[in-house]
Symmetry: C2
Subunit: 255 residues, 2 copies
């Protein structure tokens, strides 16, 4: 199965400090990485931070050794030093290349050959016709050669800035199971969930509006769940609900 999470572009509407804004997006990235979320959708909810959120999330998802190639200096990344690294399987450290190893890389044409930066001391020769960011398997170490490959471990998330409200964004994702989180939802302990299979989405509201209020009735969730029954604080923030909810669903998934 694959996880999709839906967060609003108004995630940061109550946060002014630019360092804390960056750190908060970092919390979202960390929560998604810890629990192996494959897709993060940013939906339109009256906020102005969609691009900022996307940029920070994508920066964090990119292996350290590819960041300079893929991200020019930009104001959105000014405080990105405060966020902790993801340390997911696709953020490999430098080391001796090993045949069979899968590494994330960036491929580019140089003369008549294609080379890839896979985070090692030397560039790898690419066997195949691919450019840009891609996943590679090492097939030879002397000379260092790679072929395009499919990852076998958790390989980070993709970020989708939908530019559309929640209902339209959910439709775009073609989910097999759509879950909303809401304080007014049914207690997660009292619901019999089907097996989590295929594309499973979990939607979160914004700091000021719940999911159901943002939805406008144009989409039918399979479940509206309260994952934090008996909460003692008046509100639970999006990034808090995200981590708490993923922690619970991590125990429910079976694969």
């Amino acid at each position: 199965m694959a996880w999709h999470v839906f967060i609003p572009d108004s995630l940061l509407e109550e946060t002014d400090d630019p360092k804390i804004r960056t750190y908060k997006v970092g919390q979202v990235a960390r929560a998604c990485a810890i629990f192996g979320v494959e897709h993060i959708w940013i939906y339109r909810a009256g906020g102005r931070d969609g691009k900022f959120i996307k940029t920070v999330l994508e920066y964090m998802e990119t292996p350290q050794y590819l960041r300079k190639r893929l991200f020019p200096l930009m104001p959105e990344l000014r405080y990105v030093g405060v966020v902790p690294p993801l340390r997911t399987p696709h953020h490999k450290l430098k080391g001796k290349p090993k045949v069979g190893e899968i590494r994330e890389g960036y491929a580019f044409r140089k003369g008549r050959k294609i080379y890839a930066d896979i985070g090692l001391d030397e560039l790898a020769i690419v066997e195949g016709n691919i450019e840009g960011r891609a996943t590679f398997r090492v097939v030879s170490t002397r000379p260092l050669k790679v072929v395009p490959a499919k990852p076998v471990e958790y390989w980070g998330y993709r970020v989708h800035l939908s530019g559309k409200p929640l209902a339209k964004t959910l439709k775009k994702a073609h989910l097999d199971l759509a879950i909303a989180t809401s304080r007014k939802g049914r207690d997660v302990r009292k619901v019999n969930l089907p097996p989590l299979e295929g594309e499973v989405g979990i939607a979160f509201g914004s700091p000021r509006k719940g999911v159901m209020e943002l939805l406008g009735g144009e989409y039918e969730f399979d479940f509206v769940l309260n994952t934090i029954p008996n909460q003692k604080t008046k509100t639970v923030r999006t990034e808090e609900a995200l981590l708490a909810t993923l922690a619970i669903f991590n125990l429910i998934r079976r694969d």
Copy 2:
């Protein structure tokens, strides 16, 4: 039942930025408040931030209207503006006093009477002999009179800076059930937990050392549990593990 959580004084050892350090302690406070934790114990683990953590946690737990009375200006609180409020039941807003209402207050002697600031426009006359921070029930509105009372809702947490290593701190807490969280622990899904009753403690490790490594073998936990099976990141931070673990135990508790 009552929750006790145990966090190390080295919680912030990987965080240099003073604003982010404050924000992180705020995450701990928020997680504990959302799930109604009654006691936060800070144990000695080679860190230097015990007092800082305690001060920020206590500041956040104090109702806004009592903060000026209870906290002098101090460097630890310089960045406390970045942390979100707890908005627990004991952080009451101003309003018209109601007979029967329970409010947190600060009582002090003035002449021959004792008055309490309970966050309203006027001071309340205290019937009873109490000074300092305390919980009161309004028994009359004209004149405004209060008596000492016991809270009936979740009323915040107490912070204990033990000054001792984890094992000694755990002993001090006189727990009925002691749980450690560890990546190397048993999968929480595969363990039959007893009913959560009495004083239930959950211990968390530090950024660089797990609970079992910090324990030194001087204490016997009832359970060592992995609450984040199949984590996809190499490490999970204390504040992340805290929120995730409390979210899961919130579904297990029965009262």
